[in-house]
Symmetry: C2
């Protein structure tokens, strides 16, 4: 009874190790040459493995790339969370700034991967990065934002999905602009100002009003919160519906 699990364990561990080796080799080659430029033979060579073996781990080159991309996004998620934890200041906007800085830097550095995430969609098979991996990543922002709402740092009528779209969308677009150097003058397109402007926008548009709120405002806020609660409850209900 004891030896069997051990064997199974080592067996599984072996497979997983080999899978990791393939994944690492694939990642390196994809980073170096891009998707089309990457040769499966080179990946096999770097993983010290027969060419055909890859296909007993992954259906196709595209699906291998997919696995690499998912690993990539999971890594981003962990790092983003770590950045949040490492931020000393507890305030919403300080953490948001840290997240923005990290995201912008990452998008600039891994531009190719991020583009491929959305461009790699085969018509026949459903080869696209699992929504869950992306959702996990954006959840970092969502959690931060919700906490800011709870702590009263954000105006209660702020719309989460819009804030998220503005945050990630703007940063990705800025990253592209910076990378392409669409601007004639580079100076105003460094990463610092992009992040600063973004935080300023969030402060002005989503930040709770500094002045003491009017009674009407308080009532409004209470109503907005109530509405959100209702909406969330409904969503949960809807999710449980068999359809």
């Amino acid at each position: 009874m004891a030896s069997k699990p051990v064997h199974l364990e080592t067996q599984r561990a072996k497979l997983e190790r080999k899978e990791r080796v393939i994944l690492d080799a694939a990642r390196a080659v994809f980073v170096e040459h891009g998707f089309d430029g990457a040769r499966v033979s080179e990946i096999a060579r770097r993983a010290s493995i027969g060419e055909g073996t890859i296909y007993s781990y992954y259906e196709s080159k595209a699906e291998l790339m997919l696995a690499v991309l998912q690993q990539f996004w999971d890594g981003l998620t962990l790092e983003a969370q770590a950045v949040m934890q490492a931020t000393k200041a507890e305030g919403f906007f300080d953490r948001l700034q840290a997240l923005a800085q990290y995201h912008l830097q990452t998008v600039i550095e891994n531009n190719d991967f991020i583009n491929l995430t959305f461009a790699l969609r085969r018509n026949n098979s459903e080869v696209s990065v699992s929504r869950d991996h992306l959702r996990h990543y954006v959840a970092v922002f969502d959690n931060l934002f919700r906490r800011g709402l709870d702590r009263g740092e954000i105006r209660p009528d702020a719309v989460l999905w819009q804030a998220r779209d503005v945050f990630y969308g703007t940063l990705e677009y800025s990253a592209r602009s910076i990378e392409m150097t669409i601007e004639p003058d580079r100076d105003c397109r460094q990463t610092g100002p992009v992040v600063d402007q973004m935080i300023a926008l969030f402060r002005a548009h989503y930040g709770a009003a500094d002045a003491v709120p009017e009674p009407d405002q308080l009532a409004l806020d209470a109503m907005a919160k109530e509405l959100k609660n209702l909406s969330a409850k409904l969503d949960r209900l809807a999710a449980n519906q068999p359809r």
Copy 2:
């Protein structure tokens, strides 16, 4: 002296016509099958042309795609300008709303093309959509924004490049979210609210101070909309109840 130019003209016209035929066929096939799925042989067949002939017009399949993309972006630019012209209201925000609506719709419909625009970057050769074509497109926004500045509709300290990044970035990100249906509830991710929220953000953040509506009013409007969403959701839930 007269016949020669005529001949040259017809000759050039002929070549251009054939080029257009190839481009149209290519576009159709690329739209239908994507870049990798598209067969050069099919493009040739649809253009009623020999397979090899394509290569006397375009260096490679990638460069053919490139030409299609450039034509695509030029078309977008013209249409966006037309949308601006067609907007009756002269105000900055009305026109911005029209542009946002058009852009969001376009991005959703042509998501693949737009992704390919940025993903199609070969490592070796400089195969990427000419920056000029993209710059022309974003210039539609830039001109609108500058005019708004001149007319005093926008606060003078607004930063053009940030506004542009927020505008296009957010819309493209929203389009992706809508297409992927990352959200559990679709209702709040239709195009209408996305555009409305975007315009509200621009009004609040970039609008000249005197033109800003009361925040209370904005909040009220938002809540009224939210209420409507809730009501719709409830109706749908009620309809789906089995018992």
